[in-house]
Symmetry: C2
């Protein structure tokens, strides 16, 4: 790993430091899917125990997951998304939609996000400003912290 | 690294296999920011040359970046987002907004996504269905490929 960006002024860099690796992203996906126990994550991901333990510990330390006693009263621990973790739903949607668009051949079977009540596929979502306007990359730029103030 | 998910039926897993590591995500961020040359990426990221070369090669191989001759006529190569790469804008927005919400203290300086014409900050974006409806994680679930068809 390289230099961490905890002191970066870029919000993307800070997010990537917290959840920007393959296993963390897949653990968060599984947590949204209702996976809660160590052994369930391990089975779902085919991941080495020590790596899974380290990732879960990090995600708890950064407040994305929290540990709870088992819901069935057994002695197992369960890992559950916090509110901060649940706010990663948009990120999951972004990863899912891009994969649907660019990583499958036509007709290739894939899992689908559906409405929990109607079981109908969720329509394609797009990012909208509060006024309903869609924002395109080319119409934006990133203003850095050290940039001189622009005339408005 | 563990098992790759190129044959996964989960679109999130396939996306994560293509761009789900810290350096790839930061390279893509820089590409959206107008960074084009090897030396510029290296300076921006503080990344080892061999790792940067490997990540750029992978991102070209998967069609996220393409190589172009230098725009100034020099002999340098430039790395530019393809259309498939530009479709990662939503993912960049998700990473940025979550970082803004959860990885900065109040008043801590940070870079801001602004409108390229007006220089005004882009308002907070949220995912909307074509009918304008917002979709919440709790109102959805993922239907797996091997699930029996649900009665509709």
């Amino acid at each position: 790993m390289g230099v961490r960006s905890a002191d970066s002024t870029c919000p993307i860099a800070r997010t990537v430091d917290i959840i920007g690796d393959r296993w963390s992203l897949l653990i968060i996906r599984d947590a949204f899917d209702g996976v809660r126990r160590f052994s369930q994550f391990q089975r779902s991901l085919g991941i080495a125990r020590n790596i899974l333990a380290a990732r879960l510990r990090d995600l708890v330390a950064t407040g994305v997951l929290r540990v709870e006693p088992a819901s069935d009263g057994s002695s197992y621990q369960e890992y559950v998304l916090t509110g901060k973790g649940e706010d990663l739903f948009d990120l999951m949607v972004s990863l899912r939609q891009w994969g649907q668009d660019h990583a499958f051949g036509p007709g290739e079977p894939r899992s689908v996000l559906v409405d929990a009540t109607t079981d109908q596929p969720v329509p394609r979502l797009s990012y909208r400003a509060p006024d309903g306007r869609q924002v395109r990359a080319r119409a934006t730029r990133v203003r850095k912290v050290d940039e001189p103030d622009q005339p408005v």
